[in-house]
Symmetry: C2
């Protein structure tokens, strides 16, 4: 937390009006997100000399033991909460998860109210839903996002969010696959891979896990990996628009990626959770690239479109054409996972999701997106006018700014060794410049 405090001070001293609250699309007055009780269980750390503590004879899962620190975002939230407890008046600029702050449009919440009420009536009550999601919603997702792409209703699996589906996909793949990931990128890909036992130990010197292929994405390569240097892996996680750099791959780049996967017989897990934020004419879906249905899975979410971060609703597309090496359809195994390890998304959010995809819902959803895009523009303009190199932002609610950090200045001890790229997650939180300050390498590997 000290690092955030320093940053906050540093920003104020650079420019007193810098990122001032009034410059933003900000409807609330709160400076920091409400402090949540993350409830990290207190460890029983009584020294054995004082009392004999009973231990089971079950060995801890060695993969869990490989994980470094806590999952990134709860860890940031925990430090923020601890800091605020110590300094209640601190004006903390949250560097945590890209949370939403805009209310959900009423046309969408009204549908959820209606479904909630219906559940109290004989006619409107329903019990277990289809594990894959309600037929109408699956059809609406297929026709809204994948029209003319050959993706059918039954290729869509509705879920409680893309993050949860990423883990379910890892369970499906099992421990023997190898994986590649953009560096930097959303931490859930790597962490879930570690948990499933796909990786080696964490290498402290490189800040990378063994056996993961980290695909460097920097301004030097236009945030797109040099595929000629990337080793073949079974699975390639690819997030575009990227969280956190904000870079969106072009049609030409994605065509190369699909060809790369096809040549290697790899599966791309394509995370398109920010697709509707794109301003440029890049593909919104990997399935816009010919042949992608034979090598790709796509996961997406209503979280950042309609403010569903707490409501929990997403989907994953597993085309029938996607086959394991023995010809077995991957969708069939994913269906088995969804039926065995999940019971479908809550029916009330599904009613909300269907409302999102009505003509009025879509219009309202774009209103929310535009609000966050305006914030993104303000942040980009501000940093640009201050002379920083600014990337991202145009096709995503994420802005990536190059800071050359001086030793002992505003950076944590962990990164004194070298100039560091600091990450700006912007706009999704109303007035916040969300800087994942130096924490990113903990999870996604070193950035130079």
């Amino acid at each position: 937390m000290a690092l955030m405090h320093h940053l906050s001070t540093s920003i104020s001293s650079s420019s007193s009006a810098f990122l001032g609250q009034n410059a933003f699309n900000s409807r609330t007055q709160k400076v920091s997100v409400p402090v949540k009780n993350r409830g990290i269980p207190r460890c029983v750390a009584t020294p054995p000399t004082e009392k004999t503590v009973y231990k089971t004879k079950v060995s801890r899962n060695e993969n869990m033991a490989k994980l470094q620190a806590g999952y990134l975002f709860p860890e940031v939230a925990r430090r923020r909460a601890a800091h605020l407890l110590k300094y209640p008046d601190a004006q903390v600029i949250s560097l945590g998860i890209g949370d939403t702050t805009e209310p959900i449009p009423e046309v969408i919440t009204a549908a959820m109210e209606k479904r909630s009420h219906a559940l109290s009536t004989l006619e409107g009550y329903s019990g277990y839903g289809a594990e894959q999601g309600e037929k109408q919603l699956r059809a609406a997702i297929a026709s809204t996002f994948y029209r003319d792409l050959g993706i059918a209703e039954d290729d869509i699996f509705v879920s409680d969010g893309a993050k949860c589906d990423i883990s379910r996909l890892q369970v499906l793949f099992g421990s023997r696959v190898t994986m590649a990931v953009q560096d930097p990128s959303y931490p859930a890909y790597v962490d879930s891979s570690v948990i499933m036992g796909q990786t080696g130990q964490f290498q402290k010197d490189e800040e990378k896990y063994g056996k993961i292929e980290y695909m460097k994405c920097t301004p030097e390569n236009g945030f797109f990996p040099d595929l000629s240097t990337v080793a073949r892996t079974d699975v390639i996680f690819f997030c575009s628009p990227n969280n956190p750099t904000g870079a969106a791959a072009t049609r030409e780049q994605l065509t190369r990626l699909v060809q790369f996967a096809k040549d290697n017989g790899s599966i791309i897990v394509y995370d398109s959770a920010y697709a509707l934020y794109m301003s440029d004419d890049n593909p919104r879906s990997i399935f816009e690239i010919p042949g992608a249905k034979e090598i790709a899975i796509e996961t997406s979410s209503f979280s950042k479109y309609a403010g569903f971060t707490g409501v929990r609703l997403g989907w994953t597309v597993v085309p029938k054409e996607l086959l394991f090496s023995d010809g077995f359809p991957i969708a069939k195994d994913f269906n088995r996972i969804v039926c065995t390890c999940f019971n479908g998304a809550s029916n009330i959010p599904q009613a909300g999701g269907l409302a999102c995809l009505s003509p009025e819902g879509l219009k309202a959803m774009y209103g929310v997106i535009d609000f966050y895009k305006e914030n993104t523009n303000i942040i980009m303009d501000t940093f640009t006018s201050l002379g920083f190199n600014v990337y991202g932002g145009k096709n995503a609610p994420y802005v990536w700014v190059h800071f050359l950090v001086e030793a002992r200045g505003m950076c944590s001890v962990r990164f004194l060794r070298r100039p560091t790229w600091l990450l700006l997650l912007a706009a999704v939180l109303d007035l916040a410049v969300k800087v994942l300050l130096g924490l990113v390498p903990l999870v996604t590997g070193a950035m130079s």
Copy 2:
């Protein structure tokens, strides 16, 4: 489906008024549950000679390949749907999942309506919630179900259901643990164990997976395993009241089970999803047994209490006192799983869950439970009066009836070899006698 058709015929011929609709607490007129589109993806099974099908070079997860057939309940639903498609006028007695049919009490849905609406307002909007659940709900669960048992708010992890938590626990344990399970029992324990690679191959002759310790629970042993014959395993799944036999373990039996686990250093995963259905004075929670906090995890759900099967809300208790052999708290690893592989239950159902635990909500919830218990009694009385041996029912919405099935009578070819126990899941579906006819051994091992 043919087997259900036979059963239906058979039942009708035994007694024309047998389980007639009017005998039940039945508010709806539907005979079968609405046919859901389970959307099992169609397999691409084109012979390679006809067309060259592209296959990735990714090997199918060998653990997925071990799984027999589909997950039990979607498979039953699929067969039911197929049958109804062929015979639209068939009066199918559903033998599928124990679904709820009673509307959710309005005091509970009103809270969900209110929360849905609040999400459209500046004051009421919230984004990502705590992965472990809302503080108020965790506190209410702790004080409602675990008062005086030494279980605190931060020992409770709110989830989208017990089934989902069972899989998350399996991911936490990893592939190297061994497991024991009641035979028969809810199929998710075994299937998730297979998926995680804890088991050997399926042994067709025994109808069991290798490396799983099946603990026989029959009328002969009072549906409680003879622990002197049970091998030590790392994890013991124990469901009480049991799904599907309806048997609930007594305090004395659970005390023996806890001692057995303690002697072996095992972890009990105790599924208490039907605890509130108990009429006898058996423990409602494993934590009523002294010392259980050092060896047990408990999972439960609002599904069968408040009709939340489609709303999705449950919880899991992982006490701080529960430690791996190296002294590491299991709750800390479960917290990591919940943060990395899950993003918390939907906020709207959580508002509903909190309303369930208000004085009015609790009263309404017990009303729903009493409705299903009445149905259970009718089924028990009916079968008893027909001369069958009837078990369960008193402490659970499940009735277990002994049928001596004649060869080529009403039983599927698969079970012609021997007398078979047929399972009656009753009462949760209004007028349905839910008979898991012979399908159970597919999943939970042979029953004599």
